[in-house]
Symmetry: C2
Subunit: 252 residues, 2 copies
């Protein structure tokens, strides 16, 4: 199936008639995708700006895009932050970043947890994973990916409502979160939250939510919670045309 | 965090006072987890039966579990089948199987698609991935994983309602699926459905569903659809305590 090839350029100028591609992006266009002059491509800046234009390969090996159309995409109404405790494995961190970008999260914040052994190290692969995911699925906002030294530090930095995934606790009846422009989803590390962290989060107003009886890996719980939040906020289509089976209404 | 170590035994006998562990499971208990006689463990058969008992290592290297309690877990009310078109990469297939097991799917059926190059080959790693996922998250039903030669073959084998993930088509207003005991979720391959396949599925009564504007990899679309179906059917907890932002009600 043909599709528009997408390129990333952090410094897109909405007014410019030409966009230069450089480095990896230029290499990818010429050597991997093997584009020809005139081919239609898309360039985005990860901050909502997209340019549709015609690819042009110069004799001097310069690679640029002649701008035909500029589109400013709206961000999701609610900026979702995934606040995930101490995932050590690079692959798992990248998986979370990739899914976050695919699902339109605004930020991923890894926090060092009481139950984890060594601090999270910032990796250049996070951004790469996010860029690739955005290119692949056609999202135009890159999530910010950062790390902080504790859950407390995250809670202090986050100025808005939050949900916290707890195994055995649900929101008290009637306690709902109505985010205006931001929402944090807090997920514990492999060894779960410490009692201290749990208390801190609840004291800061995080509303507990359970995902049922199964116990998910942190990265899976993160993905589930992000999916359900995006869905509830109307960002994943109009809703499944699916009703409960009739029997379930009268069963205990 | 301590948790109950889980073992898999396909031929659990609910009446037997002892369960023998053999092969990989015995090796794992003794060499990897290093259990001691008396440690409490769980053994499940992947068909809903779980035994809680005490680990016993014999001098003759036999490894068994003295049964203390037998639990028969109910399956999800609606058995969900993931019908996924032609995923070639082993890793991707295993990822789908793993998520299916984690989320409680009853069956994964890979079908050879018009837009894929070579037929799906049955892999022993599918079952292994499913067993590991069930052990890890505490589900007691293993999904059946199989493959068929076409979407048509799948549709003929599936006797129940289905949803089909389409990029640009939603269910006509009012068209809802109310599954009684089963539901199929049909997802296309990397190159998407062929027109023929799309027509076949719709003619067979599959109800279209879109996941919004982004274009997901097949395995991600599968995971999203499975998550949303399980959630809608009440299998992922009581529902997020999350309301739409007030502004979204009056925006276009």
């Amino acid at each position: 199936m043909s599709h528009l090839h997408r390129f990333y350029s952090e410094t897109l100028d909405a007014e410019s008639p030409y966009i230069e591609l450089s480095g990896d992006e230029a290499h990818h266009a010429v050597r991997v995708v093997r584009l020809h002059t005139g081919d239609e491509v898309s360039v985005f800046d990860g901050k909502g700006l997209e340019v549709i234009g015609a690819f042009e390969a110069g004799k001097d090996r310069s690679v640029r895009v002649r701008v035909k159309q500029t589109i400013r995409h709206k961000p999701p109404r609610v900026g979702i932050t995934l606040a995930v405790g101490g995932l050590h494995r690079d692959k798992t961190q990248e998986e979370v970043v990739r899914h976050a970008a695919e699902l339109g999260a605004a930020r991923v914040c890894f926090w060092d947890a009481d139950h984890t052994q060594r601090p999270i190290k910032h990796s250049p692969r996070w951004r790469k994973a996010a860029v690739e995911a955005c290119k692949q699925c056609g999202r135009f906002y890159l999530p910010v990916v950062d790390s902080v030294s504790s859950l407390q530090a995250f809670l202090e930095s986050h100025n808005g409502p939050s949900l916290i995934a707890l195994l055995d606790e649900d929101a008290p009846a009637g306690q709902h979160v109505a985010p205006t422009d931001r929402l944090a989803l807090i997920v514990g590390p492999e060894g779960d939250f410490s009692d201290r962290e749990r208390m801190l989060a609840l004291a800061a107003g995080a509303v507990p939510v359970s995902l049922g009886a199964a116990v998910y890996r942190s990265e899976v719980a993160t993905m589930l919670l992000m999916t359900l939040a995006a869905y509830t906020l109307g960002e994943l289509g109009p809703g499944l045309p699916l009703d409960l089976p009739p029997s379930s209404l009268c069963e205990p």
